[in-house]
């Protein structure tokens, strides 16, 4: 493997202990991911946080969509809420794999988090996964009273493929005009199936995410009818980078990682939003790679986490941080 001299020392050490997530062998990629997440969750404390496993009706004939709903144990009045969409290249991961993040958000901000159990590709290609996220968003908004949330303070966020689903969900919310999304949090988002940016063509063997995985990820997500990066029929809700009109979207926090093939499509999307008059905070973290935030103890990971929480705090207009 190429050595990446700019890699942060703590992350460089961690790279030597990373599993191999090969998207060409999905069953083993899923098993590896699940076993590592399992040991991660075994250590997780839910002190002060209430977790409920709820569900909302799917769109049309779709099955119900699971939602892990996190709230502070002691709370009064309607809460601002983050609709959170986990990552995993559209093909792996579970809502529970984001529990550490969701718990942290509830503790630090005192808001609610609804983490969506969307169906995965390739078993369910687009639009299924996006429909699940959108169903969760519209249901939360329509039933804000029952859920104890403030319908004017809904943020949508996600990581990696979840960041792409978040951006797609927010575009659709804008177009359908039913749910006013207050803020979007796009963490290392996967936005562009065309795979032509400099980072996407250069990073062919970076840790965790690289061009070969990215190619497979879009093939799984866009399904059998997808003809590749030249395909003119890809929906902007599937690949938000293809959207040409970004006006009317909510304020955005977007972060990218230096040694991530998704870096440039993230930065391009942020620039597009800025040019469309949207307020954007963009942060590219040095010495990092895609998913390096999962190595939560590294100093740069802590900085990135603190930054995202701070942006979300302002985006959801959380007045005083929970103690």
């Amino acid at each position: 493997m190429t050595s990446f001299p700019t890699l942060d020392p703590e992350l460089a050490a961690a790279v030597t202990m990373l599993p191999n997530l090969d998207f060409s062998d999905l069953p083993s990629a899923r098993a590896t991911f699940d076993s590592l997440v399992g040991s991660l969750l075994a250590d997780l404390s839910f002190d002060g946080v209430r977790v409920q496993e709820l569900s909302v009706p799917g769109l049309g004939d779709d099955p119900d969509v699971g939602v892990r709903f996190f709230t502070p144990e002691n709370t009064g009045g309607p809460l601002p809420v983050l609709l959170w969409i986990h990552g995993g290249g559209f093909a792996i991961g579970t809502a529970a794999s984001s529990d550490p993040f969701c718990v942290e958000v509830v503790r630090e901000l005192g808001c609610a988090v609804a983490s969506v159990e969307y169906r995965l590709a390739p078993e369910t290609p687009f639009p299924g996964p996006l429909d699940d996220c959108y169903a969760a968003l519209t249901h939360l908004h329509a039933h804000a009273d029952e859920w104890g949330i403030d319908p004017s303070r809904i943020a949508v966020g996600g990581q990696s493929a979840g960041g792409g689903l978040a951006a797609g969900t927010v575009l659709r919310a804008r177009d359908e005009g039913v749910v006013p999304v207050a803020f979007q949090l796009l963490d290392i988002p996967e936005l562009d199936d065309r795979l032509t940016t400099a980072s996407m063509t250069t990073f062919i063997d970076t840790p965790l995410w690289h061009r070969p995985n990215a190619i497979l990820s879009w093939q799984y997500y866009l399904g059998a009818s997808y003809t590749g990066s030249e395909d003119p029929n890809v929906s902007i809700y599937a690949a938000p980078a293809r959207a040409t009109d970004l006006r009317g979207l909510p304020p955005t926090y977007l972060c990218t990682m230096e040694l991530d093939p998704l870096r440039d499509e993230g930065i391009d999307y942020a620039l597009g939003l800025l040019r469309a008059g949207i307020s954007v905070e963009l942060h590219s973290f040095p010495g990092t790679f895609h998913g390096s935030g999962l190595l939560a103890t590294a100093e740069v990971s802590k900085r990135a986490m603190a930054e995202a929480l701070d942006a979300l705090r302002r985006g959801l207009r959380v007045v005083s941080p929970a103690s």
Partner: protein
């Protein structure tokens, strides 16, 4: 919360596991870690509290402790379960330790060893060894740990099968061997007038290579194959093979010397490294194979096909047929005059069991 990273408890305490621990700390050094990031990374890998006290190096520095979540000065403070002195320029400047509750892990000692070494390198930066120096350390190691350290630095799994190639260096004129044949980051090195390099087990010198060697009157030796962690034991067989090369046949292959490799002085070679002995051992397990070997034994003692046939009450063409069959199994002509010593050595070794 280490997410996607394997931790110490999940590593096997074999040489591959040791190499991963070495590699983990080497990566910290290569990427310019300070003591704080070294401690956080150590705690993350160990999955328990770690500490350092280097007040002997800098009187102003307080002992520091860190937990697996990167928090400083965690409570409670346990007695160290393993510790190691930090030595800079032969002076003990302090120590590192881990506080593992419950039973120790097999790799805990290795971990504190690497913590101490890494701390010493951070406190007094040393020159990082080159790939050539690591290759030299692999072929001529001080001890077992040096082998694994070199494997880690060269990006070679210790179990990777390799061979050693040797030829006489004459004023630096190198033979044109493509670099990609060398496993990992290993390079060609020169030691006491010999050029040496590691090759992947499967690669064979091309005809072009042999032609160049012949035209330059350079004799080349190719060792037996073995795991990279045993590369040092292969060097002798490469030199032995070279000694049997000639102007016409400039490349000597240790595989072709069979059990004669055991003549290499000062080496204890595993019989499993010698293909002739492996094949013969397989044959001996079947009745028919044992019969073929018995035929060779008689043939070598009696000297001719006719004499062998006579003592075995067989027709001489039957003896010839059996020897041809045996040659096919062993991969060399057992009845050819130039292979007499090789065949005899084979029989001497297997009869000595």
């Amino acid at each position: 919360m280490q997410g996607l990273m394997y931790r110490l408890a999940e590593l096997d305490a074999d040489s591959a596991g040791l190499v991963r621990v070495i590699d983990y700390f080497d990566a910290l050094v290569r990427h310019g870690a300070d003591t704080a990031s070294m401690l956080r990374a150590s705690a993350a890998l160990a999955d328990c509290v770690v500490g350092i006290d280097i007040s002997g190096w800098s009187g102003s520095s307080e002992p520091r402790r860190c937990d697996p979540r990167g928090r400083w000065s965690p409570q409670p403070r346990l007695a160290p379960s393993a510790s190691k002195d930090v030595v800079v320029d032969d002076v003990v400047v302090g120590s590192v330790w881990i506080e593992r509750p419950g039973a120790s892990l097999p790799l805990d000692d290795m971990l504190v060893d690497r913590m101490a070494l890494t701390a010493a390198i951070i406190l007094q930066p040393r020159r990082v060894l080159s790939d050539a120096e690591h290759t030299r350390n692999l072929l001529f190691p001080m001890d077992e740990l040096a082998v694994l350290t070199s494997c880690a630095a060269l990006r070679i799994e210790p179990s990777t099968p390799v061979r050693v190639l040797v030829y006489t260096a004459r004023g630096g004129a190198r033979l044109p061997l493509p670099g990609e044949l060398a496993p990992g980051r290993s390079t060609e090195i020169e030691v006491d007038g010999d050029s040496l390099m590691l090759l992947a087990e499967s690669c064979e010198p091309t005809k072009e290579f042999a032609d160049v060697a012949r035209s330059r009157s350079v004799q080349v030796g190719l060792s037996l194959a073995g795991p990279a962690s045993d590369a040092n034991t292969l060097v002798g067989t490469a030199k032995f093979a070279r000694s049997q090369a000639s102007g016409l046949e400039p490349i000597g292959n240790a595989d072709d010397l069979g059990a004669l490799n055991l003549l290499v002085a000062g080496q204890s070679l595993a019989h499993a490294a010698i293909p002739d002995l492996v094949h013969a051992a397989e044959l001996r397990d079947s009745e028919q194979g044992a019969e073929l070997l018995a035929t060779l034994r008689v043939y070598l003692r009696s000297g001719t096909l006719r004499a062998a046939a006579e003592s075995m009450h067989l027709h001489h063409s039957s003896v010839a047929h059996r020897l041809t069959k045996l040659s096919r199994h062993l991969g060399f002509a057992v009845d050819a005059i130039e292979n007499r010593a090789r065949a005899t050595a084979l029989m001497m070794v297997i009869d000595n069991r």
